[in-house]
Amino acid sequence: MLKNILLTSIRNIFRNPLFSFINVFGLAVSMSLGLLIILIIKDQYSFDNFHKDSDRIFRVNTKALRTDGGSENYASAPFPLGISIKDGYSFAENIVLINNQLNGDAVYRNVIVPVHGFFADSSFLKVFNFKLEKGNPSTVLNDPDGLILTTDAAKKIFGNEDPMGKVVKFDGYGEFTVKGVFEKLSAKTHLDFEIIASLGALPLLEKQGAIKQTLNNWNNYYSNYVYIKIKKGENEKEINAALAQISRKHYAERKLETRDKGYEFYLHSLKKISPGPILSNSMGKALPVVILLFLGILAFTILLMAGLNYTNLMIAKSLKRSREIGVRKVLGATRWQIFLQFIGESVIFALVSLAASYLILQFLKTALLQLHLVQEFSIDLTEDKWVYIYFILFAISIGIFAGLLPAGYLSGFKPIVVLKNMMSKKGSERQLLRKGLMVVQFTISMVFIATVFVIFFQMRYLMQVDYGINDKNILNVNLSGNDYKKLSVELGSVAGVQQIGFVSHRLGTFQDYSDNYKLKISDAPFVMRDFRADPNFISNLKLRFAAGRNFATDLPDDRETEVIINEKALGYFNFKTADEAIGQQIYASDSIALSIVGVVNDFHFRPMNYEIGPLAFRYRPADFQHMSIAFEPGSNDKIIKALSSIWKKADPVHQLEYNLMRQDIDDAYESSGFTDILKIMEYVSFLSIIIACLGMLGMVMYNTQLRIKEVSIRKVMGAGVKDVTLLLSRSFIWLIGIGVAIGIPLSYLLGNLILQNFAYKISCGIWLISAGGVITALLGLIAICSQTIKAALANPVKNLRTE
């Protein structure tokens, strides 16, 4: 039976090369997308699957309830929460407390290496199955100076020396002794660390002010992670109730952060952390589930289209296959056997397509690795035994789904009917189904193409829009902790450099500070974003002052006195005019008194997703992290060269990081994934229109063949090429028309949904959407006319003679 199906299918594939090509090609390109998603999903589900009893390990997350009615979920939780659970409740078998404030440079002899990691105690090694290559897991973190390194970190700091027992200094944290080295980890984990230092170091560090207030600070829900391994038989719901109890007990009388009105804690299963929901302060690099969902929906849609092509062409061919089915039934085949035969055939089609799609996948992988998304999340796209099994299962299920409809339809033929050629009666019903499928395909294509248009033009708008600042001929350089004054002096003499300014964050990216501000000390504060900058930075931007002046050049470094605000901020302080604000005193960070010396005109300081909000510039050299070098036009190459050599001497440890300011602004959109979405959508809409056109091509070709005799007779009767082409094309043109007509409102909705993410945007007008419709229709028309014109031009006598 199986052999028979196999033989028939393979011979059928070769007997109808064009039909097969359309199907295999369509399925292959769309399946390649599916394969890619399988790879990504497999990678994303490979996190933390090496821990024992992982179904009993949970992280306690914090839901911060804001005074404005909103809320935000954090992966982190207050440190004392963990202690309360440990002391007051019995549901936990073990509790792991992690403090994430260990970041900086490790110093050993003359080696200085930036490393990241956290503080934890020995329960960390009990709950999580990270194996030690050296050291005793039960004692290694007992002493307050205990330190464990990954093999990579050990190599970076110590080279080939044995790290055990060596003392490493961390800037700001003191000295630690290496008491253990981790085995190299081949699996993925959301716990992102190179080093782990003993939690026992925290009390002293807190006292010294090296870290934020943590140990007894219920308001610090940023710096710590609380993991618990619950006892067997404990119930998640009851634990969440216990957590609510703790929250009530400890926050009832406490003064909360200005923007918060309360906190809720809840368990988050280790298995659902990666991939998982988007959380603030989350560790590790896992794609949020929404992204997976988004990719999955795209792949599904494309697969659906290719599947529809198969279904469609298969049903179109039913006239040709009907005799075979009739004969088979007369020879004793049951409906079920015929059904299986067609399912088998489509599965074989899918498997052949799988082979082709695997080749396409290899190209796709190369392209995908260019995407910011993939680099950022270090997605591993390697294939293993399981992946191949998934691929094959995937192909088989695609085959089954694509084959269901035709198999069900074809296997229902009555032999007596098909063998007597009485099929024509059922024709109209079949036509309607096929036409419906075709319309769906063109609607989808049209929506995709229009969406690409919307994203593309929005993107172009963002790239060209005037931010209200001078962003040309400015180079942003990351200070990487270097002394800004020293660098400023050395760089100042480089030819072409006009002026060097300093700032806390790169303007126009998604990063900035915010702080509490108020007019009178007794007022309720409001949150305002601010940049900590020097006067040169402000003049580099060529900001226009509505009133007042730039910072004085001789401000003291250790004490803040002056502030500059934008016009938007005036209202927040209840100033009527800019002039009125000058000389007024305001308070920042609750108690720092600052005098307003200038009011600048509003400009965009964040990506265009956001409205312009109130803003302050403050002079705080301690917060300077970036340099802003204004240079003479055309001298950037020279300056970068000079900068590199100066940098190498000044800071041998850190890589020089620089970028043109305008580039930084544009890159912000890329790092937010917007460009990636555009690229993915471009590919997907390309696929969808190709698939739809191929499907159309197949349908038209088949239909034209059926009507060739009619066409020939009409031509003999005197019909012209135009008449015949129109006759053959008309019904298909209608299908495209309907598809596009349905697509226009859908695209309009989707386009506006996307643009909602931007405070400043193009108008998603009807012309933009229609352009997508016109392109879809044109491509479809080409597919139709390529066949119908050919048929119309053919010599009628030849077709009639062969009858």
């Binding site: 028979n4 033989l7 007997r15 005799r323 075979e324 004969v327 007369v330 020879l331 049951t334 007596i416």
Partner: protein, 220 residues
């Protein structure tokens, strides 16, 4: 072997009932070779399809080897004909994408016969019809006579008790037609019951009995 009692088959056109078969009584004994004759549209093929259980009827009784066919469900009917009846068509109806060998083998596959057994049976049949050399060819590579030979071989592969042939020589030239009729004669001598529909007096003469149909009724 089989008995038809008062078989009617009709369809409605407007308010009129048009009869395809009208009060057919027919009894066929094992080993008979019957030729059904009559002008076009007299219901020959319909009768054959009814006997072959490919088509239903509206009234009457049909007994086949002690089974009451008119009471059976479609599935049971198909099991019955799968086991006992072979079909030969005017247009051969070979499966284009299968070779001669595979065409002959197909009914056995649908009867869930084991592969080794199938091989032996098909080899026997190829031998018997002297078409061993053509076993790997596709239908399109054969002449009409050869195709019909394969068609007969395929109909016989599962050892049917009854062979139904709808104008088996209709698409063949006279020499090829004669060969097929000779074959039928031999088969009949070997014990296969045959019912054929034919236009040709000459072919009808091969049979042991002739039934004449006119407007759906048997002429006596």
């Amino acid at each position: 072997m089989l008995e038809l009692k008062g078989i009617f088959k009709w369809y409605h056109s407007g308010n009129n009932r048009t009869f395809l078969l009208k009060n057919i009584d027919l009894s066929v004994k094992v080993g008979e070779f019957i030729s059904v004759m009559g002008p076009s549209g007299s219901g020959k093929s319909t009768l054959l399809n009814v006997i072959g259980m490919l088509d239903t009827f509206d009234q009457g009784e049909y007994h086949f080897l002690n089974e009451s066919v008119h009471k059976l469900k479609e599935k049971q009917r198909s099991i019955l004909y799968k086991q006992y009846i072979g079909f030969v068509f005017q247009a051969y109806h070979l499966l284009d994408e299968l070779t001669v060998y595979e065409n002959i083998e197909t009914p056995l596959i649908y009867q869930d016969i084991k592969s080794s057994e199938r091989q032996a049976m098909v080899a026997d049949m190829l031998d018997r019809f002297r078409i061993v050399g053509k076993k790997d060819l596709f239908p399109a590579q054969l002449s009409g006579g050869q195709q019909q030979l394969v068609g007969v071989a395929r109909a016989l592969i599962a050892n049917p008790k009854l062979l139904l042939a709808d104008e088996p020589t209709g698409n063949l030239n006279s020499k090829q037609g004669e060969e097929i009729m000779e074959l039928f004669k031999e088969l009949n001598n070997d014990g296969v019951t045959i019912i054929q529909v034919t236009h040709s007096e000459k072919n009808a003469a091969y049979g042991s009995r002739i039934i004449n149909l006119l407007d759906g009724s048997i002429e006596h």
